[in-house]
């Protein structure tokens, strides 16, 4: 009786389990199939969907030294021939270590896997394991960053997006960056060429959309290949290095003066006849740029006069200049996802500091700070946060007003004049209406300045009649190269041509149609430029 009850109970359990399975278990295969398409780590693509980082199934070759049955000496010899990463002696030691598992080669080529397989050693193991591939190799390496050995992002957007890229619910959908791969490639190519031609120590370049704050391209040289990083990655000079960016600050000082009402008349002249003595400090104009006369506002920028800018800043005063720098974000880290360096903000704002910071000495910011400041200057005066993620055109951040609309309009005219008549002429790209300012500062070195090393920068906006993009190109310590027609190391000779070439190549990709028949109206400023009997145009 008890036996039959037990038997009956057992049957009941089996039937109950079967019923449960029949009713609620969904076919496992269907779910698995759908899940197998989701990569182990999400893809990163550019703004047009071109892949920048992908997860692939890579081969890895491993060995179980305690399971090797063949001649270990011969095997070590053959392995050293096939995988020359280690010597035969090292392989022999590894095979005799008695451990249970060791990688011989990760991310192996299929040919190598076949070759090692033909050795016929049962102690070998061949695995497919997920691996991160950057199809464009070194392109945008600083933006993308890289992973550590465990597959977690340690720098760049890989680190910023770690949560999203590794979340099973969200990683199926690729993350679109604001970068345009084609523009990025052109920028890297041109900057790299300039760097090698001019033997520069480093270079940096960034292109910003002035309407949305999106970074269309950002590069820093020397770069690295995130697929095979040999050691520590070099810093991102666009966001992590601060520089005294020299004369590129002059338009900002002038904008502060116009915006605050210190200067209301573009024809107002400032004495640049001789160097300006302030206490024990002497402010000169750069050799070759001296005009030895009184300069009005457009002329001050066209000839890049330190003396006249210092006089403008002196009249403006510390409070208003600092206020402008703060509104442009020069007192804080750049608000970009990948983070950045804190600017070197003067601790004491004496009269000399005010005068020198107005022409970009005594204050150090990142090239990204400068690019965003120029974007604000030309886009109608709105400072927007800079982003590396693609921005939905309907959800553009409102930003905050840093300059009056009228100041921005005036700055567009002034910046265009610098390219048409002044130091920025080599930065012009036919049809693209470039406006911008050159800046050459002596490189800081050992607590002072190195007179033989320049940081040459060109900050530009285009097309200036309806600004869309800002580009900053910077070369660290370029050398003159007369063989290719570069006789000086100033920005006009080094950085400006890079901008010209990059804009010529990428302008139309960025949606700007070159048109030689259009330009901003600067007719009210043109009569202010004195073109006397022997007009001396600014060289730098």
């Amino acid at each position: 009786m008890i036996l039959s009850i037990l038997f009956g109970f057992g049957m009941l359990v089996v039937i109950g389990k079967l019923a449960l399975l029949a009713l609620w278990a969904e076919p496992a295969t269907a779910r698995d199939i759908a899940a197998s398409l989701i990569p182990p780590r999400g893809d990163i693509v550019d703004r047009n969907g071109a892949p920048l980082a992908r997860s692939i199934d890579a081969w890895s070759i491993a060995v179980h030294p305690n399971q090797v049955i063949g001649d270990k000496n011969a095997l070590a010899q053959r392995l050293a021939e096939l995988i020359p990463d280690k010597s035969a002696g090292q392989y022999y030691t590894l095979l005799n270590s008695g451990s249970s598992f060791a990688y011989l080669k990760r991310r192996a080529l299929p040919e190598l896997v076949t070759a090692v397989n033909t050795l016929g050693e049962p102690g070998m193991e061949f695995q497919r394991e997920p691996d991160r591939l950057y199809p464009q190799s070194a392109m945008a390496a600083h933006v993308l960053g890289f992973l550590d050995a465990k597959g977690a992002g340690v720098s760049g957007m890989e680190k910023v997006l770690e949560g999203q890229l590794s979340d099973p619910a969200r990683r199926g959908k690729p993350v679109a960056l604001s970068i345009d791969a084609r523009v990025q490639a052109a920028l890297e190519n041109e900057l790299g060429r300039a760097m090698t031609d001019l033997q520069a120590r480093g270079a940096a370049g960034v292109i910003l959309d002035v309407r949305t704050g999106e970074v269309m391209a950002m590069t820093s040289l020397p770069s690295f290949n995130p697929n095979a990083l040999p050691g520590a990655a070099p810093p991102n000079n666009v966001t992590q290095s601060v520089y005294e960016l020299g004369s590129t600050f002059k338009p900002i000082a002038v904008a502060a003066a116009i915006d605050s009402g210190t200067i209301t008349n573009m024809a107002r002249r400032f004495d640049a006849t001789k160097p300006l003595q302030v206490g024990r400090f002497m402010i000169h104009d750069d050799p070759g740029d001296e005009q030895f006369r009184w300069l009005n506002i457009p002329e001050t920028l066209i000839y890049s006069s330190n003396i006249a800018t210092a006089r403008i800043a002196d009249e403006l005063g510390a409070a208003k200049l600092q206020d402008m720098f703060r509104r442009l974000g020069f007192d804080r880290r750049p608000g970009i996802e990948v983070g950045g360096a804190r600017p070197l903000w003067p601790s004491y704002w004496g009269r000399v500091t005010v005068m020198t910071t107005a022409y970009g000495h005594g204050i150090a910011v990142t090239p990204l700070h400068l690019a965003n400041a120029y974007a604000t200057m030309v886009n109608g005066g709105i400072l927007r946060p800079v982003t590396l993620l693609k921005v939905d055109p309907n959800k553009v951040p409102a930003g905050e007003r840093a300059l009056k609309e009228s100041t921005s309009a005036r700055m567009r005219q002034l910046l265009r004049l610098i390219v048409l008549k002044g130091t920025g002429r080599k930065g012009e790209a036919p049809g693209f209406r470039i406006a911008g300012k050159t800046g050459t500062a002596e490189a800081a070195s050992g607590g002072g300045y190195d007179k033989h090393r320049n940081v040459s920068t060109f900050a530009a906006a285009f097309p200036i009649d309806a600004p869309r993009y800002v580009m900053v190109a910077m070369l660290d310590s370029p050398k003159a190269n007369p063989a290719i027609g570069v006789y000086r190391t100033t920005a006009a000779w080094t950085a400006a041509p890079v901008v010209s070439r990059v804009v010529s190549r990428t302008g139309s990709l960025l949606g700007v149609r070159p048109d030689a028949g259009r330009d901003i109206d600067e007719s009210e400023l043109l009569p202010l430029i004195w073109t006397g009997p022997d007009p001396k145009l600014g060289a730098e």
Binding site: P27, T29, A30, I33, A34, S36, L37, A50, P51, R54, I56, D57, L133, P135, Q136, S137, A138, M139, A181, R182, Q184, A185, N189, P430, G431, F432, S504, R505, T506, S508, R513, P514, D515, A516, G517
Partner: protein, 189 residues
Amino acid sequence: MGVQGFKGLGWFLCGVVVAPACYLVNSHGAAEQAKLNATKLAIVQAQRDIRGLETEFNTRANLAQLERWNGEVLALAAPAPQQYLAGEMALASLDQQPADIQVAALVVPSGAPALQTAAVAVVPAADPVQGVRQAAAPARSVAQQDVELRKLMKKADRQAIASVDRGVLSASTMEDLQKLAKREKLALR
């Protein structure tokens, strides 16, 4: 009462015929489901392969590589601003040539072979033999021309292939392709 007697048979039939039939339908359904899953799996596998190949193409033809090819072989440059047109009006006006420019195609060079229309000239029906003779002469020259043209084309083809061999694809890529071709040929045997 008689019906009651068949009750046992009814149960028997149910057990022997209906239940296996139901099971058969069920198992058929399961088999179809399995086939469907296999197809789905194959589709997913194909999608994965496509992804893998796309990645490989992207990697092999990355922008730095394209730039190198462009620098070495293609030498393409960004279009100049004059090559952009303002709109449909500008496009339409592109076509309007000034009157004094002679279009090359209108100038027939002296010594050019007679136009081919001679071969299909209307032949008077009265003398068909003569007509054939007349037509045959130009027809032969046309055939000759064709042969020469074909020769030239072949030569140009050879040159084009040679140039592809030399520069556009790297030596290793060509080797890879040749190896693959050989392997495919062997597989077909």
